[in-house]
């Protein structure tokens, strides 16, 4: 087992290096950089910018170095000083801008994951046990809709619906009096009052998918001979169900944690923008549009690393549960 984990960790190193390079290339892609945009703005507002000042600024931001040198400086600072560079727009270290936001994004993602499981697994089991019942059809139908409709469109419709019926604008994550305030008990309560909206919206697609998976898995198991044998021997229906088939049917769900969590983080980005939450989505969009490269790059990097970690955790869990993967994985 330790061998397997070590093996997987070693594999991660080239992957992470490749990811960081790709992200750095992507944020370098747009023509010009933040400085050119900034100088343009200054010129538009009538401020004359002389050449030495430009050079000065370029030097200050390290933009006069070749691209690969910029990359190495960025990487070195992240790895050794936990310094992701400065955000041009906010005039603050990137870590300060994104700290709370990454946390809140993760919180929403984890809550959504829990929401998904709590809702989807019981419904999936019910749908499989009572196959072709009315509720099975209803859940299947809702599941289809949930899978098909993109989260941010659901968010739009819900925001409109709530506003239309109650006159409340459900945007943001805190009541107005807590915005920009340090964390306090009241702020947490205020957040919990509002966080369910994005959690439910982000969780819908996952819930729909999970209901279908659970249902299909359990149906497969229920048709197997050992279930028939157990039933023939007179095992009580409830005991029969929970003792073996459900455990087996839930097993593969572990393998989906790996991509469920990243999918939730990725999918929530646009929802967060629609709901205007103080999380990663809106700032990422803003940073991309203003070529605030270190801010955008750091977001992408952290989200990707989280994705990789998610996959790793699910692989390890799977290997722990299923010896075949443990040994098969080594040979590959």
């Amino acid at each position: 087992m330790l061998n397997y984990i070590g093996h997987r960790l070693l594999q991660l190193i080239p992957l992470l290096i490749a990811i960081s390079i790709i992200i750095f290339v992507i944020i370098q892609l747009p023509p010009g950089n933040y400085l050119t945009t900034y100088i343009q703005q200054l010129e538009l507002s009538g401020t004359a910018v002389n050449q030495s000042e430009v050079l000065n600024l370029q030097h200050q931001y390290g933009l006069d170095q070749p691209v690969y040198v910029q990359y190495f400086i960025w990487m070195k600072n992240i790895l050794f000083h936990w310094d992701f560079g400065n955000s041009f727009q906010w005039q603050e270290p990137v870590t300060k801008v994104i700290g709370d936001r990454i946390g809140l994004t993760m919180l929403i993602a984890i809550f959504s994951l829990i929401f998904t499981w709590v809702i989807a697994i019981p419904i999936g089991i019910y749908s499989a046990v009572r196959q072709y019942s009315i509720f099975d059809y209803i859940f299947t139908f809702i599941g289809y809709i949930g899978l098909a409709v993109p989260n941010f469109l659901i968010a739009l419709v819900i925001v409109f619906y709530v506003f239309d019926h109650t006159g409340l604008a459900i945007s943001g994550l805190f009541a107005p009096e807590y915005v920009g305030q340090p964390w306090s008990w009241g702020k947490i309560v205020s957040m919990l009052e509002r966080i369910w909206v994005p959690v439910v919206i982000v969780g819908t697609a996952g819930t729909a998918g999970l209901i279908r998976t659970t249902r299909a898995m359990l149906l497969d198991e229920l048709g197997k001979q050992y279930v028939i044998t157990a039933r023939a021997k007179g095992v009580a229906e409830k005991k029969l169900l929970f003792k073996y088939p459900i455990r087996l049917a839930i097993n593969p769900l572990v393998s989906t944690i790996g991509w469920t969590l990243p999918a939730l983080i990725s999918g929530s980005a646009i929802v967060e923008i629609v709901l205007n939450l103080p999380t990663t989505g809106p700032v990422l969009l803003n940073a991309l549009m203003n070529q605030d490269m270190y801010l955008a790059g750091s977001f992408l990097l952290i989200l990707s690393v989280l994705t990789v970690i998610g996959t790793l955790i699910s692989d390890i869990l799977l290997a722990w549960i299923d010896p075949r993967i443990r040994f098969g994985g080594m040979e590959e």
């Binding site: 098909a148 993109p150 239309d164 990725s266 980005a269 923008i273 992408l300």
Partner: protein
């Protein structure tokens, strides 16, 4: 197109009189079996019909729409959807609409429209309206439905803040949104087949490299990655350049699914006897791949592509919605939804959400179609 499987036990042509599945089952061709399986899934059948409707709607959008997409009705800005009446004071009449009159609330300055019951306009089919070119070649003025006087208010789904008919714009938008999906699928197809094919057929180092590449792409969060790449498209680009730029972005990230399918099939099929026979007969690698292997996995590829189409549509919609994708003079569902981004606008003009319905129905159609095709694709699977 003869695959090895079929030549092994050449199926005799099924007589048309054989209607019952049981009787013709052993001798039916693969496509026939697929069709029989597909027919069993009623939702997929409905989706197939709607799919055809959708395509006809998009191709002839200029004919179906009552107005022109960039025609501005200055007196009817933000007008609500038309209220079509089927009866007047004399009982049932042919469908008509009333004229709209602008009312400004003195206190809130909100603009609302009320019906002016003194002016009545009847609906007609095949009316003369703004001139356009059908399919881009045939100049005509005929619109499927509308009022005799095309300057009068008949807005099936209301107008936007510039007074342009939303229904018309949605129909025109379907052309870009759908074609985007198909062009995207085309590129995804090319990337997927080439890379998946190389990976599966040749194996070895190429396989390892491509597999690692897939791992890499899968470990990047899709939507933020889309956003970053779309933001990198220069804003000086023309609409069609941005369009293809976005197509490339979505397909460069999206080919992994198809590549995996192709690779898996390649690995299985290259061990089959017919591949060996072709190789012994001296066929070149490309001949084996294109003549023997790819046709054998057509059904799998079609299924995978059908399932990928919604991703393309949603990619375009969400990026344009955020303002990172196609920009204003272009009309797509995502561009139209950009107007609905703010609560203030949808709170007072909820009809701006209509494109949402079109996106959802389209995505559902492809999902059901994909489901039906997937179940039908493997007819030998019992």
């Amino acid at each position: 197109m003869s695959t090895g499987i079929e030549t092994n036990n050449q199926p005799p042509v099924t007589p048309k009189s054989v209607k019952k599945q049981k009787e013709g089952y052993e001798v039916a061709s693969q496509w026939k079996l697929t069709w029989w399986n597909f027919k069993k899934n009623k939702m997929a059948l409905v989706a197939a019909v709607l799919f055809i409707v959708l395509i006809i709607m998009a191709i002839f959008c200029s004919f179906w729409s009552p107005h022109l997409p960039n025609e501005r009705f200055k007196t009817y800005k933000d007008a609500p959807p038309a209220n079509v009446h089927f009866s007047d004071e004399n009982g049932i009449s042919r469908p008509f609409v009333y004229d709209l009159q602008l009312k400004v609330n003195k206190e809130t300055f909100r603009r609302t429209y009320v019906e002016d019951k003194s002016k009545k306009y009847y609906l007609h089919f095949f009316v003369k309206g703004g001139s356009y070119k059908l399919l881009g070649i045939i100049p005509t003025k005929t619109h499927f439905i509308g009022l005799e006087d095309s300057t009068k208010p008949f807005f099936i789904m209301g107008t936007d803040d510039l007074g342009r008919d939303l229904f018309t714009r949605i129909l025109y938008g379907s052309r870009i949104s759908l074609s985007f999906a198909f062009v995207g699928i085309f590129f995804t197809f090319i990337f997927g087949i080439i890379l998946g094919g190389i990976s599966g057929y040749f194996g070895g180092v190429a396989d390892t490299i491509i597999q690692r590449l897939i791992d890499l792409l899968l470990s990047l969060p899709t939507i933020p990655l889309w956003m970053a790449l779309a933001a990198a498209l220069p804003s000086s680009w023309s609409t069609s350049q941005t369009y293809f730029g976005m197509v490339l972005i979505l397909s460069v990230i999206g080919w992994t699914g198809l590549a995996r399918v192709v690779r898996g099939q390649m690995l299985a099929l290259r061990e089959e006897d017919f591949t060996m026979a072709a190789r012994l007969a001296g066929a070149s690698n490309s001949r084996i791949i294109f003549k023997h292997l790819l046709p054998s996995m057509t059904s799998y590829m079609i299924v995978n592509l059908t399932i990928t189409i919604p991703t393309m549509i949603l990619g375009e919609t969400s990026l344009s919605f955020l303002g990172l994708g196609l920009q204003a003079p272009a009309i797509s569902w995502g561009v139209l939804l950009e107007d609905a981004q703010h609560l203030e606008s949808i709170a007072f003009h909820p009809w701006l959400l209509w494109p949402v319905a079109f996106v959802i129905v389209t995505v559902l159609i492809f999902n059901f179609l994909g489901d039906g095709l997937r179940d039908a694709a493997d007819p030998y699977k019992s």
